[in-house]
């Protein structure tokens, strides 16, 4: 009984780590330019496929090189998308921006589908996957543990980056008041591009981890993207700590649903949780209420 519980906690932690890597991108972009970046789930998918292509095209590429390289390439795509599609609309009405993001997402899905085909693939084993025996007959594979540890490490690096560096301070300033920041001589375009780069890079890591643990296909970004987005909203969109908390909470609920109820219900339950939570705490767990200006 306790063994299965611990086993499930590890499953939830692994899934939660992937959700968190995506949710952080959502929350950072929302924080800086108030955009629900509907294309972010597809950037996650793209990151997974870039990792997959790197592994298959360059045999023998060490995983310690492959992951950062895929993150870098995906970050470049993220910056490119911001430059080509979003920048011109920054001052426009918000809905055009959201619809543009929807369009970019559909474009990415179909691009990958046309390039590599619609079938699901698994990223060939890269992480060591020996089975570790913990006490009381609890077993966990090394790759699962590594995924959790590397993800947490990335989150810590992000936290230090946002809270302790100069550019991180500028990012938080942009989130707080975009207009005042420009008066202070901060290069707004650079800060927003950095936000997209960092968010996309984290999503790419999530995509690779997901493709390692489960499988990747061109349409996975829709489902996973939505889950991560829900996680970000549950945590309080715009808050980095909130995104992480929300992700692990959502993953926990999902794992319990699959284990004790039915796997068919997990999407419904995820959204149900979201709606209930928003009704109790309209700004999420860590979110702050926005003032109504009259």
């Amino acid at each position: 009984m306790i063994e299965t519980a611990i086993q499930q906690i590890f499953n939830a932690a692994q899934l939660g780590a992937v959700y968190a890597l995506i949710a952080l991108g959502y929350t950072m972009v929302y924080g800086t330019i108030r955009l629900i970046n509907f294309a972010h789930g597809d950037i996650f998918m793209l990151g997974g496929f870039i990792g997959f292509l790197l592994v298959t095209l360059i045999p023998g590429l060490p995983v310690a090189v492959m992951i950062p390289l895929a993150m870098l390439l995906t970050a470049m795509v993220g910056v490119l998308i911001e430059r080509a599609a979003y920048r011109k609309l920054r001052g426009a009405q918000r809905m055009s921006l959201v619809i543009t993001a929807l369009g970019v997402g559909i474009f990415l899905e179909n691009l990958v589908r046309i390039l590599v085909g619609p079938q699901a693939r698994q990223i060939p084993a890269q992480l060591p996957n020996k089975v570790l025996k913990l006490a009381n007959g609890v077993v966990i594979t090394e790759d699962k543990l590594l995924i959790i540890v590397i993800s947490l490490l990335l989150m810590v690096i992000l936290w230090i980056f946002v809270n302790k560096t100069l550019i991180g301070t500028a990012m938080r300033a942009v989130a707080d008041n975009r207009d005042a920041v420009q008066l202070m001589g901060i290069n707004l375009n650079l800060i927003i591009a950095t936000t997209f780069a960092v968010g996309s890079a984290l999503a790419a890591a999530g995509g690779i981890f997901f493709g390692q643990a489960y499988s990747i296909d061109p349409y996975m970004g829709i489902d996973l993207g939505w889950k991560a987005f829900i996680a970000a909203v549950i945590g309080g969109i715009g808050s980095i700590e909130g995104a992480v908390i929300g992700s692990f909470l959502l993953a926990g609920v999902e794992v319990v649903t699959v284990a004790y109820l039915s796997s068919n219900l997990k999407n419904g339950i995820a959204f149900g949780l979201l709606i209930i939570l928003l009704l109790i705490r309209p700004n999420g767990i860590m979110g702050r209420a926005e003032l109504k200006k009259v």
Partner: protein, 330 residues
Amino acid sequence: MGEPRKTHVTFRNVAVATLIVAALVQLLGNAGLFNNYYLHILAIIGMNIILVASLNLVNGYMGEFALGHAGFMAVGAYAAALIALKLPLPALARLPLSLAGGVLAAGLVGYLVGLVTFKTVGDYLAIITLGFNMIIVNAIQNIDYLGGPRGLTAIPKGTNLVTVAVCTVLTYWILRNLVDSIYGRMWLSIRENAIAGELMGIDVNRVKNLAFTIAAAFAGLAGGLYAQYQQFITPKSFDYLKTTDILVMLYLGGMGSLSGSILGVVFYTLLMELLRNILGIVAPQLADMRMLLSPLILVLIMLTRQYGLMGNREWRWLLPDEKKAEGSDA
């Protein structure tokens, strides 16, 4: 200002012409003299116009951001399909009753969802409505009585182009009068400034929910038509992708414009079909490319024409009579 220009292009005349053309085309189609593929496209255009125009009430006229329209279409489609399939009704009563059932069911669900969602505003509203879309689809997938993921098949064919045309004209008649009514003004005032509207004595939540319920009911009508036209439905036809399609056509046509909703649907549908055929002729494997081109076109339109083709403008014949004097340049 001044006397309205004399013209025969009035709402009534356009409506009558639409019905006559639809009836003629249907008759020719039945006789094998009109290509059935074109007939099919016309019917799809009609159903999509109902969907897009009704969503325009919420997103365009009221300025809220609802994202779950396909969910209400699903409710209407399943309700209508169940009535047509399971109730022993005479053929003549089946179509109106099943459509009415679809409208009522979708309206009711819309009302209940609205009660919950309008406690929040802005982005959260978008998220919650989309959440309900997913919950509805997910619930249908898990109910065996509704066929689960396989859907419902062998629904009696109750709809043809004439039925669709009648429903579209009726929808436009109602929407046009609603937008011109006191409620229409309240929706506009909520879009422009909800707080000011509240201070003027508008019960904002109630009026918002009214628009939402009406929009959901029309989505149910489109769903009912679709179920009895296509004769089979699966939960997948009503998921996030369908909602996206509806949004694309809505924003393409323009917000707050009933003329734009027609234009957006016709333009997008014809464009997609043309791309399919032209690319298919050049090389069959290129037909896939249209799925790449359509989002690109959407992004380009958003970058160049933020308010869509007809944002906040209206064709003269769609304007209510007293506004014609002021005129619209469109």
